[in-house]
Symmetry: C2
Subunit: 192 residues, 2 copies
């Protein structure tokens, strides 16, 4: 093989490895969401993802390794595309968050991440990245209107209302509750 | 034994059983909070609570049985004692919630409850009771000022801000953020 042939072959191998890893991690996150994190074992994941247990153990020696990387998938947050009207955009962003929760049940993965991060400090960084990605659009929409503690409070309250409803009340908020939350925050920001 | 002697003896036995159960369930909740729910096994709990594994298996045949009853301890929510000034009382109630989270780390137990309730419907009732008890004072303080979706949004936002900060951001909110959250909600409620 010439060096270039070798590089190409290596690239194909690398691409296959990346594809395998992504397949398995996506399946792990789905399994976590559908059946709870106790279901995320090498054996069960090999079944649902269609790879051998040997392959899985090679990539992720422990269950904790699988979970840590699977949670990384939560960084790919879906967002509302801003229209320029802040009320519409805040409602749109919170509604998009609710839709993702309803369709993909990511609240379950977030609850598992919160629970595990409390006793596994190495997960705190992943959680931080997931939260930063999740709050990005809310922060962009509110930053021109609120500062300091008001800005932090508004972001914590708006995303917290959706999380609280989904995680603790067992159902994400209805349209009128989302609109009321946005109006409470904007009513005050326009007063200031 | 006369019937009355028998009753007394039975009452002593009952009282001892209740004490044993409460001891073990409190230890289970502490273990869950300190080491995560994977640590709540019959063996580990027998060690820390000082009862035999046989006793534990007799009361709670499965780990799920232990967890379900241990979460019930979260219903005993600490609350601020209202002074009559709504701003002071809302800040006091949220600060009390934050103190309980800081001192007892109940956010960890709530995250575990949220995660398990998603895949174990029998835990949804316990979660509902915990949430109702936890929100009682907030609801009493806000109900005279807000109605319908605004009331639900305000409760979800205020308790959600504390939960979101503790669970997802890894630290409960500072004093100025709690005050800002209350002012955002009250600013709007006094406008209406």
């Amino acid at each position: 093989m010439t060096p270039s042939d070798h590089d190409e072959a290596q690239q194909r191998v690398d691409a296959r490895v990346v594809r395998t890893r992504n397949d398995v991690l996506r399946a792990a996150l789905d399994l976590l969401i559908d059946e709870g994190r106790d279901a995320v074992t090498h054996q069960r994941l090999a079944q649902v993802a269609g790879y051998s247990r040997v392959t899985l153990y090679k990539h992720w020696p422990t269950r904790a390794d699988i979970l840590r990387e699977a949670f990384g998938g939560l960084r790919e947050a879906h967002h509302h595309t801003p229209t320029g009207d802040v009320r519409t955009d805040l409602i749109g962003e919170l509604t998009t968050f609710r839709t993702v929760i309803e369709q993909r049940r990511i609240d379950r993965a977030l609850a598992a991440l919160a629970e595990l991060a409390a006793s596994h400090p190495e997960l705190a960084d992943v959680r931080g990245e997931v939260v930063t990605a999740g709050e990005r659009v809310l922060r962009e929409l509110l930053a021109p209107r609120l500062q300091g503690p008001e800005l932090e409070a508004a972001i914590l309250m708006l995303s917290g209302a959706i999380l609280n409803a989904a995680m603790m009340h067992g159902r994400p908020p209805a349209d009128d509750v989302i609109a009321a939350a946005v109006d409470i925050v904007l009513g005050c920001s326009t007063k200031a």
